[in-house]
Symmetry: C2
Subunit: 283 residues, 2 copies
């Protein structure tokens, strides 16, 4: 189990982290600051085992993670001195979500991991894991021999964004939102899928809030909580009132978080309800 | 109970609508098409009571609802002929969510309701309810004697958007997301509240994805699922690593839908967990 996130072990979370660590021999947690490492170490100070941590590196996405060999060493030494087991390094090349940046971001991930690992090994650390991530970069980063672990997630269900980036093929989209046309005028439809069904997630390079494969000319122009307002170009094929259309969300991850279950269509055409166990657990 | 929405009574939903109608004497549902009215009527055809409906009017938001007296009469007559009880009219002046448009939208609501009611009464309908809505327009529309019902909702918890529109005062904000600072550089913070905690809802006139009242100069510039990336202007007061800050969401409605419970702070300072019963029920 790898929590690839610089979890802050507040007083409230410390108890949960300690219990998780005791129950989960392979638990690993991300760190990107000496203070964060100290807090994690304090949380697990009563445990017989040392907690394994990986230092997070900023490979160009500029979110979490440290930049440069000195900063990596500072965090790794602080973690080791606090009593944590520094297992390796990880990064998330999230800038690969920009069109045309997949190759670049994957190379940044690999090079950043390699440089940090070299600095750590030169300082006496044993680097057991170099972990990269993200669906856009996974195939490219994994094709090198410098990555031990890939943390891609979106590929499992696929979405319009990954398709637009070339990270998946059309048959890699396994999940859609079923939306019913509830209202119609000459140039407009309204479906019963709004921001509480599709989310307002929209990368700058995408127009509208989802794709309707059966009617590709439709533009889901705006969402309110329960309404999706769809522009119909003149003459374009369109669904009728009451018709149910499949909408491929821009970004499937927050969409899944809105639902308590999936309707899974099995190979023989029958359906099952699959619970979304981990939804609503953010923060 | 008023479902102010043009629910499409599909075969699957018809059974649920009939059961709800039988169990709920005051149930009312919106209609904005003859076909939608026919489907509703078919759904409740086995009931001893007629289902009450209100015709939805487009007062300028251009989402659902019909425009013009002829269209109102067409839908109302179709509903009556199908065996439904036409109780009145309703509208949602959602264009009042644009800055400076509250008064205009409230006037549009009132005038649209009045014109439709007059057309229906001239045609022999008894108009029992003229219903308007939305937190931005509620006080203005209610100040006239031409509205029987107000369907505002956001005011109950308040959010940054309503504050920016002047629809509520600062003390009208009753809900915030607790976010912990998990990572920091010189000009950037990362909090553990991302799109799965705050949503990417952002009206065009708002910068960033929420307001941090304790540190008003911070800009929540971008969100990924679990990270909020916060820009810190040079010299601005800033929280330290591990600090918990209250973030006022741009739009509270979809935020509530992400959580299974609220932490309610009572008058005496104690807290309780309040379940969010209706979340995850969209669509």
């Amino acid at each position: 189990v790898f929590i690839a996130y610089p979890v802050w072990a507040s007083a409230e979370k410390a108890t949960r982290i300690a219990a998780l660590h005791d129950a989960t021999p392979d638990l690993r947690i991300g760190v990107d600051s000496a203070a964060g490492a100290d807090a994690l170490a304090a949380a697990v100070s009563g445990s017989r085992r040392r907690l394994r941590v990986l230092v997070e590196l900023d490979s160009g996405h500029h979110r979490t993670g440290v930049e440069g060999a000195e900063a990596v060493l500072d965090v790794a030494r602080a973690a080791r001195d606090a009593g944590l087991d520094v297992e390796g390094v990880f990064t998330h090349g999230g800038h690969g979500y920009r069109p045309g940046e997949r190759e670049h971001a994957a190379r940044d991930e690999v090079e950043t991991l390699a440089a940090a690992a070299a600095a750590l090994e030169a300082d006496g650390f044993e680097v057991g894991t170099r972990s990269a991530g993200s669906t856009p970069t996974m195939i490219l980063a994994a094709a090198t021999d410098q990555v031990d672990e890939i943390r891609a997630g979106t590929y499992a269900l696929g979405d319009r964004q990954q398709l637009s980036l070339g990270a998946i093929e059309p048959d890699g989209i396994a999940c859609a939102v079923a939306a019913t046309v509830v209202s119609a005028t000459e140039d407009r439809l309204v479906v019963d899928a709004g921001a509480k069904a599709l989310t307002k997630d929209r990368a700058d390079h995408l127009a509208g809030f989802g794709l309707v494969p059966a009617y590709p000319d439709l533009l889901i122009e705006r969402l309110s909580d329960y309404h999706g307002v769809v522009v119909v170009p003149p003459g374009a094929p369109r669904p009728v009132l009451g018709e149910v259309v499949a909408v491929v969300p821009n970004h499937i991850c927050p969409v899944v978080d809105l639902r308590d279950s999936f309707v899974a269509v099995l190979g023989d055409g029958t359906t099952e309800n699959w619970p979304v166990d981990a939804r609503g657990r953010s923060g």
